[in-house]
């Protein structure tokens, strides 16, 4: 898979404050790339550098094989975290203005806006002022404006904040569809469940440094600890627990089940396979729950940040 955006060795200081130090990311084409990190880690700075709002002190960015230059703004659609529109300007005029700033002609902009407004069933908003709309309604307009010029690269900073679940879903589907139509998406968020749902690749930034990146599945594979969650029933549960603990490394587990089971997390050594465990358990108890513990993005996020804070 080829790379759409490549940022190499980016550093940026604001006075004494280090916002980014030596951060590199590669965003594959047609992927959804999650840019994760705690507040103040430097995500927004990196996004602003990609948008050419600020210049890096060191490092360079390549978009679709070319070094980033001012003309590239029309290939990028950016939905900032701090969003807003001109309050006293009419919805239609404003959308037309912003679209023209992105290089669309008046006619093109008008045509595409009509299409989107019909799709979202908001055509009657055209002559309303932004200040007459609710926050969620204004966000929809902003989303349309962001994607209207059909950019190769879409950058969403916390796109779901301010949307109710229904509209958040609508936007999520739109993002997936845009990806399927060929766009590449960089997506910055704290909401880990949306990372699980959407992202193909992630990069984790913490205290101005990149501490983790790669394909989400690879990362999960790397972070799994060969641990299995089991639910067992037997006539004598305490004897069973002793038996297992003599053989394996166990800890209590908590999951929902219908039975009043012995619930355990069993950590296998690198040399052992799940089959070894199953064979052992099969001989000693009735197995009604057996699942590999796969770390979720949230766990990986918290653990990696913790390890790197030391």
């Amino acid at each position: 898979m080829s790379t759409l955006l490549e940022a190499t060795n980016i550093s940026k200081n604001f006075g004494e404050f280090k916002a980014l130090s030596d951060v590199s990311i590669q965003v594959p084409k047609h992927s959804i790339f999650g840019l994760l990190g705690p507040n103040g880690a430097g995500k927004t700075t990196l996004i602003r550098i990609i948008n050419q709002i600020i210049m890096p002190d060191v490092g360079h960015v390549i978009l679709d094989g070319e070094p980033l230059k001012p003309e590239h703004v029309q290939y990028i659609g950016y939905l900032p975290e701090e969003r807003g529109l001109y309050k006293s300007m009419k919805v239609g005029e404003q959308a037309l203005y912003l679209a023209q700033l992105k290089g669309l002609s008046y006619r093109q902009a008008k045509q595409r806006l009509n299409h989107w407004f019909e799709k979202f069933e908001i055509s009657h908003w055209w002559d309303k002022k932004i200040e007459e709309l609710s926050k969620g309604m204004a966000q929809k307009i902003q989303f349309i404006v962001t994607v209207l010029h059909q950019p190769k690269l879409l950058i969403f900073d916390e796109p779901f904040s301010g949307f109710d679940p229904i509209n958040a879903n609508l936007i999520k589907d739109e993002i997936l569809q845009l990806r399927d139509e060929g766009a590449t998406v960089i997506f910055s968020t704290h909401r880990m469940e949306s990372v699980e749902e959407l992202c193909d690749h992630i990069a984790l930034i913490h205290q101005s440094k990149k501490i983790l990146d790669g394909n989400l599945i690879d990362i999960k594979r790397k972070h799994k600890t060969n641990t299995f969650e089991v639910g067992l029933s037997s006539s004598n549960l305490s004897d069973l627990e002793k038996q297992i603990s003599a053989r394996f490394d166990i800890s209590p587990a908590d999951f929902r089940s219908l039975e009043d089971d012995l619930k355990l997390k069993i950590n296998l050594k690198a040399s052992e396979t799940p089959n070894d465990l199953l064979t052992f358990l099969n001989a000693n108890a009735y197995i009604n729950h057996f699942v590999e513990v796969i770390p979720n993005a949230n766990d990986i996020f918290i653990q990696t940040v913790k390890n790197n804070s030391l």
């Binding site: 900032p80 300007m89 023209q100 902003q142």
Partner: protein, 434 residues
Amino acid sequence: MNHLPLIIKREYLAKVKNKSFILMTFLSPLILVGLLSLVAYLTSVNNEKVRTIAVLDEAGFLNEALVSTDQMIYENLTDISLEEAKKLSNENNSYGLLHVPNLAIDEVSSQIKFYSKESPSLTLISNLESKIEKRLGELKLKKLGVDLSKIKAAKTYVDINQEDYQGVKTSKTGSFLKLIFGGAAGYLLFMFIIIYGNLIMRSVIEEKTSRIIEVIISSVKPMQLMLGKIFGTSLAGITQFAIWIVLIGVLSVVSSYIFGVDISATPQQELMSGAVADVNTNAELQAIISEFHSLPLLNLVVAFILFFAGGYLLYSSLYAAIGAAVDNETDTQQFLMPIVMLLVVGFYVGFFTSLEDPHGTISKVFSYIPFTSPIVMLIRIPFGVPIWEQALSFAILIFTFVITVWIAAKIYRVGILMYGKKPSYKELIKWLKY
């Protein structure tokens, strides 16, 4: 990509479509003309009041000198004593009583008295004085056996033409005219900067508080946005000024037609014309016209456009930077103070030094300092400033403008993305290095 025209168009339309802007555009001339009409109307009502002045001329000098008019009736009292006359005129509600005692013509001049309930108006007294002076003078000449018609024939008006060694003509009237021209130009710039500079600042703050700024500058360079704002707002300002001038003109004509009052006939002007009343008014008018022609008109117009534009752009970039540095209008005060001070200093220095000596050291120095030079120069130019001085001053202005725009753009670029704490001057300087 050059989006400047697009940005200018939006900024212009956003200003022009704004309700309070429209209201101000049409209401201000209405209020101004309304107030002036009111003043003029009240003044004329005041003038139309018929006043009766009782005259007790015991010596019989005045005779036909005091001729009754529509507004002034002179009532000659005869054969009564001064006490009786005072009582009578008080009872009749006369405006006052003029008493000329029965004395010889050489002694009477210092003994004439005017009695009234309230202190009489200044113009009335000076009017009476000049009439009596003229009459007594004629009587005295007659007594000396001089033929009045010969004196009238011999009367000559002299107007000394002043000129400096370089051949630049000057005169008292001319200086006055120049001061009005220069002062008006300087004041116009002063007001324009304050009104529309503030408008620019507010529109930058609006973009920050509505948080649209980040969307915009992901499409255009901050410098383009700033310049677009400055030009768009200036065009809106010029539109507003043009409408004001046209409206004030039309409304003045309409109001003078409706109320039958001449707005230019305000009390101040009566006083002024009263002060120069002894001079032949026709000659005065001609002097003004000739002075007007002797003004360096071409230089004036060109310099006005250049210095006006230069000064306005210089200040408006500062206003834009201030708008970018703060989050809300209440925080702007500490940054606005120095700007307004500079403007005020510029205007007062320009006006008062030109009154005293338009080519003195102070006015010269201030017409080179870029932040005061546009105003001071505009005031000074009618008095004749060598072209090289203007060119040098303008060059300094443009040079400073370029530097200021660069600094303002830096502050703007950083400031528009900064929220929260109000920055100090120290932090602003730090921003320049980002």
